[in-house]
C-alpha cells in the first residue's frame, strides 16, 4: 500500500523543492525477521521518487557489516541520512519515521541537503566546546506530537558538531532497548546511555546534560 496520497505527495514535493544539495538515504534492513522493514522500504522508495536530489541506497545489516559499523547501525530498519558526498553526519532513524515522526524526517533531509536553520548565537559556542564523542538517543512513539521536536533538536546538535551522533528510536518496534532504558514516557532523551531527559526539552537542556560528560 502507498504511504502518500496525492495531497501529501504534492505537499512533500513542495517542501523538498527547497533542498540545496543531493542527499542519500541509506536504508539498512535484513533478511528474515523484521517487522517493519518492508513497509519502511516502500516508504523510502516513495520518498526517493519525490525529488531528483534524493537517492536511496539499500543495505543489509549482516551483509554490509562494515558500513553498518561506520554508521553505528545496530538495529533494523535503520535509516541513515548522508550528504552529497555520502558522508555520515550523525543523523539516524531507527524504525519507521511515520505518524508524527515524518515531521522530523523531512527536516532532517532538508538540513542535510544544506537548507540549514540557524542555531541561536549564544548556544553555538557551547556546542563548539563539545569535544568528546557523544551519543544522543531519542525514544519516540509514532502517536506523539512532541517527539519530532526533540528528534529535530538532537539532529541539529549532530549537524552542528562532528562529535555528536543522534538517533531516533521508535520505542514500540525496539521493545528490548526501550525496556533496557525504562522508556515509559516519550520523548525520552538519553545521552551517552547515561543521562536522561523527558519531554521536548530546549537545546540548552541537552547541552547541560552533555556537559556533564
Amino acid at each position: 500500500m502507498k504511504m502518500f496520497n496525492s495531497e501529501i505527495e504534492n505537499q512533500l514535493k513542495e517542501v523538498f523543492s527547497k533542498m540545496v544539495n543531493d542527499v542519500t538515504i541509506a536504508l539498512f534492513t535484513k533478511e528474515g525477521e523484521c517487522l517493519t522493514c518492508e513497509e519502511t522500504r516502500g516508504y523510502m522508495q516513495e520518498v526517493e521518487a519525490l525529488n531528483d536530489k534524493i537517492h536511496l541506497k539499500e543495505y543489509d545489516i549482516n551483509k554490509n557489516q562494515d558500513l553498518a559499523k561506520a554508521y553505528n547501525v545496530e538495529m533494523v530498519p535503520s535509516i541513515v541520512i548522508l550528504n552529497d558526498k555520502e558522508e555520515y553526519l550523525g543523523i539516524k532513524f531507527n524504525g519507521i519515521p511515520a505518524g508524527h515522526e515524518i515531521n522530523s524526517f523531512v527536516p532532517a533531509i532538508l538540513e542535510v541537503s544544506g537548507n540549514q536553520s540557524a542555531v541561536p548565537e549564544n548556544l553555538q559556542s557551547r556546542i563548539d566546546n563539545i569535544s568528546k564523542p557523544t551519543n544522543i538517543k531519542v525514544f519516540i512513539t509514532l502517536s506523539c506530537p512532541h517527539c519530532p521536536g526533540a528528534v529535530q533538536k538532537a539532529h541539529k546538535l549532530a549537524l552542528s558538531n562532528k562529535f555528536i551522533d543522534a538517533e531516533m528510536i521508535e520505542a514500540q518496534t525496539f521493545n528490548d532497548i526501550s525496556n533496557k532504558f525504562n522508556v515509559s514516557s516519550v520523548p525520552k532523551i538519553v545521552i551517552n546511555d547515561q543521562y536522561e531527559l523527558i519531554g521536548d526539552q530546549p537545546i540548552e537542556a541537552f547541552l547541560t546534560e552533555i556537559e556533564k560528560n
Binding site: K18, E39, A98, H100, P107, T141, L142, P148, S184, S185
Partner: protein
C-alpha cells in the same frame, strides 16, 4: 500506516524572524488557540504584530479528538491547529518559536518582553495568551517516578503500556478521554477520582458502556509506589487505605495557568489566573491577557479562541484611542 504531516510548519521554514530594533504595535506571548485568533484579528486591523511562543498550537496538540469546536466535527487536535495556521498563512507572521518569556518591563509608553536567553523585544501593547499546563497531584513518588510509570500525555505514551495495567487520575473530560484512549491498548484501565465525575455526559456514557474499565470514585491517591519503576498506587476511600497495583499513572486532574513569569507584575487570583476586565485589560496599561491563563471560566478551545479575538479588538481600540505616543 498513518502519517501526520505538519505541512504548514514544514513549508514555513523561511518564516519571518522577530527583530529587536523596532517597536511592534502588539506582541502576543503564547500561540495556542487564544494567541492564534488574537493574531488573526490584529492583522485584519492592520496592526504590526510579533509572536513569541514556546510551542505552536498549545495544549490542543496533545488532544486526540476534538469534537466540540463549532463547524469542525471529530477532528484530531493537531489537524485543528493546522487549520488555524493555514487560515493565517496569508499574513506576514514574525514568530519566535522555542522561546520562553521570563518577564515584562514597562518603560514610558512601551513594554520590553524579556526572554530566557537575555534578549528582549519592544512593543506598544502585549497580549498574554500563555494558557495552562497539567496540574500535578503533588504526592510522594509522583516526581521521582515521572517517566518511570508516571505520565501526563496519554496519546504520546499509550503505545508503551500495551498489555499493562494503568490508572488514570481525574474526573473531567481529559481524564475520561485518556481512559477511552488507553483501554484500546492496555490490559486493564482504572479511573481513580477523588469526587464525582464532571466530564460531559456523552463521554461518561461511553465510560460506563465499557465493562473493561474499573472506576473508583471518591478515592484519593496518596502515593505513587515503586523504586526504579512504579508498581502501584496507595489510595484512600471510605473503605480505608488500599494499594492498586499498576504499571502506569496518567495524571489528568486539570490545569494550572502559565503565569509564573508574570504573577509578581500583574494581579492574579489565588489560582494564579491573571485577572482581566471585560475588555481583557490587566492592571497594567497596555498589557492584555486572554484564554486559559486568565480567570475566565471553562477552559475550552472555542472559548480561548473567542477570547483571543476579543483581546485583539480591545488592543486595537486601546492603540487608537488611549495610547499616548
Amino acid at each position: 500506516m498513518e502519517l501526520n504531516l505538519n505541512y504548514e510548519k514544514l513549508n514555513n521554514n523561511h518564516k519571518n524572524e522577530l527583530v529587536n530594533d523596532k517597536v511592534y504595535d502588539l506582541i502576543i506571548i503564547g500561540f495556542g488557540p487564544a494567541g492564534i485568533n488574537a493574531f488573526l484579528y490584529a492583522k485584519r486591523k492592520g496592526l504590526n504584530v510579533g509572536i513569541i511562543t514556546k510551542k505552536i498550537g498549545g495544549q490542543v496538540i496533545n488532544t486526540s479528538v476534538v469534537d466540540n469546536y463549532l463547524g469542525t466535527k471529530n477532528i484530531n487536535g493537531e489537524a485543528l491547529i493546522d487549520q488555524f495556521t493555514e487560515h493565517i498563512s496569508e499574513f506576514d507572521t514574525p514568530i519566535l518559536e522555542n522561546a520562553t518569556v521570563t518577564y515584562i518591563k514597562s518603560i514610558n509608553n512601551h513594554h520590553e518582553i524579556h526572554l530566557t536567553n537575555g534578549t528582549f523585544y519592544k512593543t506598544r501593547s502585549v497580549i498574554i495568551a500563555t494558557g495552562s499546563k497539567p496540574r500535578q497531584l503533588n504526592i510522594p513518588g509522583e516526581r521521582d517516578l515521572l517517566g518511570k510509570g508516571v505520565a501526563y500525555c496519554a496519546i504520546c505514551d499509550a503505545p508503551l503500556f500495551k498489555g499493562k495495567d494503568v490508572v488514570v487520575a481525574g474526573g473531567g473530560n481529559s481524564a475520561v478521554e485518556a481512559v477511552l484512549d488507553m483501554v484500546k491498548v492496555a490490559k486493564s484501565v482504572t479511573l481513580v477520582h477523588r469526587s464525582e465525575l464532571r466530564a460531559d455526559k456523552i463521554l461518561v456514557d461511553q465510560l460506563y458502556q465499557n465493562s473493561e474499565i474499573n472506576i473508583h470514585l471518591k478515592t484519593k491517591i496518596l502515593e505513587v509506589v515503586g523504586k526504579d519503576f512504579m508498581t502501584g498506587l496507595k489510595t484512600k476511600s471510605a473503605n480505608g487505605e488500599s494499594i492498586i497495583p499498576s504499571d502506569g499513572l496518567f495524571i489528568e486532574i486539570g490545569h494550572i495557568p502559565n503565569s509564573d513569569f508574570i504573577k509578581d507584575y500583574l494581579d492574579v487570583n489565588n489560582h494564579g489566573e491573571i485577572l482581566v476586565d471585560e475588555k481583557n485589560r490587566t492592571n497594567i496599561k497596555g498589557i492584555f491577557a486572554c484564554g486559559d491563563v486568565t480567570q475566565i471560566p471553562y477552559k475550552q478551545i472555542i472559548i480561548a479562541a473567542a477570547d483571543g479575538a476579543k483581546a485583539a479588538l480591545c488592543v486595537n481600540e486601546y492603540l487608537n484611542k488611549d495610547y499616548i505616543k
